[in-house]
């Protein structure tokens, strides 16, 4: 087994300087992601503590729907797979066409995810599930939309990378940026595992 220099897909020696700089840059980003993981972990703990405090308002069974959450889970999982293909396309093909196509597919899946999630929040608000209604809903809206904002930010970053490719071509900076975005992309899918397990399956089981 060859050694891996950093989390995520490694570019390998034939990418030269990009592979060398990636080792330090991706490690730094990995440290940042782990601090983000603690924020999400503690918001999940807050949610678990608050989830019984309904204050006479609507509870999980009235507000959550399983079907859209299942579709959202599949969308994020698929986009993790297609993002992996985008990175493999970048690693093995000097021309960025494949990478761009898979990246656009990943962005599309993530944006559909965000759209469905916003629709869920609107449906919840229509049933009286607004943040100020109860401790349960305050902690819910602190946790789940924060993840949605992360996904939106990752999409903006992905569009920025597409812009960089258009201006500079597939240079070293774009490559290491793409590796870091990959870390964020897969990390957000991992956070979603926690959210659908604790919030949605925990609330509907």
């Amino acid at each position: 087994m060859s050694t891996t220099r950093h989390p995520g897909l490694n570019l390998g020696p034939h990418h030269g300087k990009a592979d060398d700089t990636a080792e330090v840059e991706v490690f730094g980003f990995w440290v940042f992601m782990m601090s983000d993981a603690i924020i999400f972990g503690l918001l999940m703990a807050t949610y678990v503590v608050m989830s019984g405090n309904l204050n006479g308002g609507p509870g999980p069974r009235e507000l959550f729907e399983l079907r859209p959450v299942f579709i959202e889970t599949m969308l994020l999982l698929f986009s993790s797979l297609t993002f992996g293909f985008a990175q493999i396309g970048m690693k093995y093909h000097p021309h960025p066409a494949r990478m761009i196509i898979w990246l656009l597919v990943s962005i599309a899946l993530a944006l559909i995810f965000v759209g469905m999630e916003v629709n869920d929040f609107i449906t919840m608000a229509g049933k009286g599930g607004v943040p100020q209604a109860s401790g349960f809903l305050s902690s819910f809206y602190a946790l789940v939309p924060l993840h949605g904002i992360h996904v939106t930010a990752a999409c903006i970053w992905a569009f920025a990378i597409l812009g960089q490719i258009a201006v500079y071509g597939l240079d070293d900076e774009v490559k290491t940026g793409m590796l870091r975005l990959g870390i964020l992309w897969h990390f957000l899918d991992i956070v979603w595992i926690g959210i659908f397990s604790i919030v949605y399956i925990g609330g509907l089981a």
Binding site: T4, I38, V49, L77, G84, Y92, G202
Partner: protein, 103 residues
């Protein structure tokens, strides 16, 4: 060149396997919630175990974290983060629920 093609195939397979394992750990859970196959407390235990397994799958197949052969402390960072989250997260849940049961 064939070496490179083999490596590419291996990496594609890694993502495909990760995706397959993640599906196996997700779809039955949602199905058992939708069709009420098992009682609540058993399902919550299964969900907890499946979530931990799936997080390991994502780390291994999508983020390529392995037990050996890394130049930097990627795995140690995950383990330390898990420790901090365990102390603070589980500690919060323990203390607050203990307090609630006394009030």
């Amino acid at each position: 060149m064939t070496d490179k093609a083999a490596e590419k195939r291996k990496e594609q397979l890694s993502y495909a396997f990760g995706f397959g394992y993640a599906l196996l750990l997700t779809v039955p859970l949602f199905a058992s919630v939708a069709f009420d196959w098992i009682d609540r407390s058993t399902l919550l235990w299964i969900t907890g175990i499946a979530a931990i397994l799936q997080i390991v799958v994502h780390f291994r197949f999508f983020l390529h974290i392995r037990l050996k052969g890394q130049t930097k402390e990627d795995l140690q960072l995950i383990l330390f983060t898990t420790l901090v989250m365990g102390v603070m997260g589980l500690g919060t849940i323990w203390v607050i629920f203990n307090l609630m049961s006394r009030m």
